[in-house]
């Protein structure tokens, strides 16, 4: 089976490529990058040292190749979502691995890392194995489980990290709730060094965060109890201090405040092994939108004020933020169709993430498109790379994720193609995700993923799977 993506602008940050090229996919792997149309000699692109010339034989076989016209499109390594909630097992009424995989494919993601706050919690090898198996049965996108830091995510006893890694987990996290006890977090960061996996920290001081929206001018105006930025920053600071103590790899989930970014900046400057992610909704929206009392704007961490959003955008462009992750949190409509105070936190974001970034950041020139591709590919890949490659000590047969986020020849052909000119209105009714909870509903966005290829197979086209 051969597939030729013809004439698109290939952006592959891992291999330092950014030029109009054809991509040949053969037997599920990237076979070659080159130019079949305009140059009889089919020379390799000068920028790309990984390029090989398409052989005369390959050219001859071109007739039997399925050709996809990618002119005007951006061809990138498959996008990776480091932070999604697929809810299975336990909350299949919100989402399951099938609906989540469909949503991811439609949204342009080829690899999704799933948070462990399921029921039962992914705190043992059996549940992690179940997730991996279910994802393989569904067979749309790569699903990599994230194990819990603590048993039942109770924040008390470490989960069996070795078993989790053996079963395919690429990181640990108690996402959804913070690890409140500093000693537990310390031990998690220490113990994780054995496996080289990052600890993904949901930073929130629960005693400060009993509110519904960002604390500031708008919480006063809208009369909703606020969550101060400091509730996040205190925990970020603590975790960074513990990372320094332990030498563990710390990744800050859904970073959303100026102070947290400053702390991470300092930590990085001092050489700590720390990374962080930002979500499309924190980058696109501010707390002002809460005024509609639309429960789809209720998310944790809350949508922040303009000041924080500006800091986030700056950090995104400057490279301080390592990756964009969706924090895709689908909910059943009933847990959003109620009073603001009673509604669940979360946004179903995996199907709109790329378009939101394209429309709100790339289009107005706030973010270079090549940088965006990094944030969706090499950025998240680096966070989990060491784990994905697998430490020698722990055999992990289930894991086949080398070369994530790169169009390297011989790598599995995970490709995301973006049409920067496609205009579509966000219609949650058309979501594959069971969660229709999006504050972007009804918005007209420009720049959408138009093709998702996983292992050489086209799994989604123009948003349809």
């Amino acid at each position: 089976m051969r597939l030729l993506l013809e004439g698109g602008r290939v952006i592959d940050p891992a291999n330092n490529i950014d030029s109009v090229l054809d991509v040949l996919i053969e037997d599920g792997r990237i076979a070659a990058l080159g130019n079949t149309r305009h140059d009889e000699n089919m020379h390799a692109d000068a920028n790309a040292d990984t390029d090989v010339c398409l052989s005369a034989g390959a050219r001859a076989r071109a007739a039997s190749i399925t050709t996809v016209d990618c002119r005007g499109k951006i061809v990138c390594p498959g996008f990776i979502d480091l932070h999604a909630h697929f809810r299975e097992p336990g909350y299949e009424y919100k989402e399951d691995i099938s609906s989540g995989s469909h949503a991811a494919a439609a949204g342009g993601f080829t690899t999704v890392c799933c948070m462990p706050n399921t029921d039962p919690v992914i705190d043992n090898g059996a549940v992690a194995g179940f997730v991996t198996r279910r994802a393989q049965e569904v067979g749309l996108v790569n699903v990599l489980p994230i194990g819990a830091i603590t048993k039942k995510q109770a924040g008390e006893e470490l989960a069996e990290m070795g078993e989790l890694v053996a079963a395919g987990c690429i990181a640990v996290s108690d996402d959804g709730k913070p690890v409140l006890r500093s000693d537990v977090m310390r031990h998690a960061l220490e113990y994780s060094r054995l496996f080289g996996i990052p600890v993904l920290s949901h930073c929130e001081d629960a005693s400060l965060s009993a509110g519904y929206m960002h604390e500031g001018y708008y919480s006063t105006v809208y009369g909703l109890k606020g969550i101060p930025a400091e509730a996040e920053e205190i925990m970020v600071a603590r975790d960074l201090i513990l990372a320094r103590l332990t030498g563990g790899r710390l990744h800050i989930c859904h970073i959303s405040t100026k102070g947290a970014l400053e702390a991470v900046k300092q930590a990085k400057a001092s050489g700590l092994s720390v990374t962080c992610e930002a979500t499309p909704h924190h980058l696109a929206l501010t707390d002002e939108v809460v005024g509609s009392y639309d429960t789809d704007t209720k998310v944790n961490p809350p949508l922040r004020s303009e000041e924080h959003r500006a800091a986030l955008r700056e950090a995104l462009a400057s490279g301080l933020i390592d990756c964009i992750a969706t924090d895709h949190a689908p909910h059943h409509f009933e847990s959003k169709d109620c009073e603001y105070g009673l509604a669940s936190f979360g946004i179903s974001g995996i199907e709109t993430a790329v378009a939101v970034i394209m429309d709100t950041l790339v289009r107005p020139g706030l973010l270079d498109i090549a940088r965006m591709v990094e944030l969706f590919t090499t950025g998240p890949a680096r966070v989990i790379a060491e784990a994905a490659a697998g430490p020698a000590a722990i055999p992990a047969p289930g894991r086949t994720v080398p070369c994530l986020g790169a169009l390297t020849c011989g790598a599995p052909a995970d490709v995301t193609v973006i049409d920067p000119d496609m205009v579509r209105t966000v219609d949650p009714r058309k979501f594959y995700s069971r969660g229709k909870n999006t504050p972007f509903k009804g918005m007209e966005l420009k720049g959408w993923p138009c093709m998702t290829i996983v292992g050489g197979r086209i799994v989604a086209e123009d948003g349809r799977v």
């Binding site: 919480s219 006063t220 009392y293």
Partner: protein
């Protein structure tokens, strides 16, 4: 101001959810209409046939007998049929969702729903999901528009105007919907608003609303025309916002000596029910400067005006 001021024609308005998005013209219309309404309350025959055949239902998810009664009487004086969903005995306790409760009520055919809810935004949510007109009788820590309207009516009645007055609001500003609605309403008329309360009960961003924050009563009261004293919720003490009621009253109870700092003809408002000896001294509560009893009458008048104005027009012409 940073608050969007929609200028809607009142008769195109489906709901009254807060003063944030009510225009000056609408406020003036309500206050002007409340004048003849107040005359009716003072008559021997306190009834006009205006809203004959109209149904008003009050749903209070938080106890407030006085506000509910005020709305009910206002409706009755205008000949509307009013009834009340007693929350304690209703299916709310059985775990019915708000949407289902409202749908059930809607199917009984009332025209106006008057709603009090402990959660901010609940009336906004309901308004979006029902064809009934919704009046917010207080939601969470957000707004209590009819209280602010009756306060403004009382101020205007005594002062002859609202424009450009100096107003002090005292107490728990952070949790007070009365404070918020008053701030939104009075700011539209160019009033200089000051608030005073314990620093733990002052919300952020007030300066951006044009409101001056003081921590002590003297600073807030100096030279003001109107003092609005908020009721302190005793349960706030348990959440650690102030150490004790004794200390609160020591620091924040309005006393006669404070009044001497205010303008000569200053007036004192209180939304009730009062905690005498906590936020307001009896000398003031019972004194000539206090409009507290008049506020109650004015509350009925303002609510009559609102019910009349909102009930106007043919349903099919109201933009939802």
């Amino acid at each position: 101001m940073g608050i969007s001021a929609q200028s809607t024609q009142f008769d195109r308005r489906k709901d009254l959810l807060g003063l944030k998005d009510v225009s000056n013209e609408e406020i003036e219309l309500i206050l002007n209409t409340a004048l003849p309404m107040k005359d009716i309350i003072r008559r021997e025959i306190k009834k006009v046939p205006t809203l004959r055949g109209k149904g008003i239902i009050t749903v209070f998810y938080e106890n407030s007998t006085r506000t509910r009664t005020s709305f009910e009487l206002a409706g009755k004086y205008l000949s509307a049929d009013t009834s009340n969903l007693a929350v304690s005995t209703s299916s709310v306790q059985k775990g019915e969702t708000l949407r289902d409760t409202i749908k059930t009520l809607e199917m009984m055919g009332p025209d106006i729903l008057v709603m009090r809810h402990s959660m901010t935004g609940a009336p906004h949510y309901v308004a979006k999901n029902t064809s009934m007109r919704v009046i917010n009788a207080g939601d969470g820590t957000n707004e209590h528009p009819t209280q602010a309207l009756l306060d403004m009516f009382s101020i205007r009645e005594r002062k002859g105007r609202i424009d450009n007055l100096k107003v002090a609001i005292l107490g728990d500003i952070l949790h007070s919907r009365v404070a918020r609605s008053n701030i939104y309403g009075l700011a539209k008329f160019g009033c200089e608003i000051r608030v005073a309360g314990p620093p733990t009960m002052i919300p952020p961003g007030l300066d951006r609303l044009g409101v001056k924050t003081c921590f002590n009563l003297d600073d807030a009261i100096r030279g003001v025309d109107v003092i609005n004293v908020l009721r302190i919720q005793r349960e706030r003490q348990q959440t650690g916002l102030f150490p004790s009621l004794d200390e609160y009253s020591e620091l924040y109870m309005l006393r006669p000596e404070h009044l001497s700092l205010a303008a000569d003809d200053a007036i004192v408002l209180h939304p009730g029910p009062m905690n005498r000896g906590v936020e307001i001294s009896s000398d003031i509560a019972d004194g000539d400067t206090a409009l507290i009893n008049e506020q109650v009458t004015n509350g009925v008048a303002v609510r009559m005006a609102l019910l009349f104005l909102m009930m106007g027009g043919r349903k099919d012409e109201i933009a939802a």
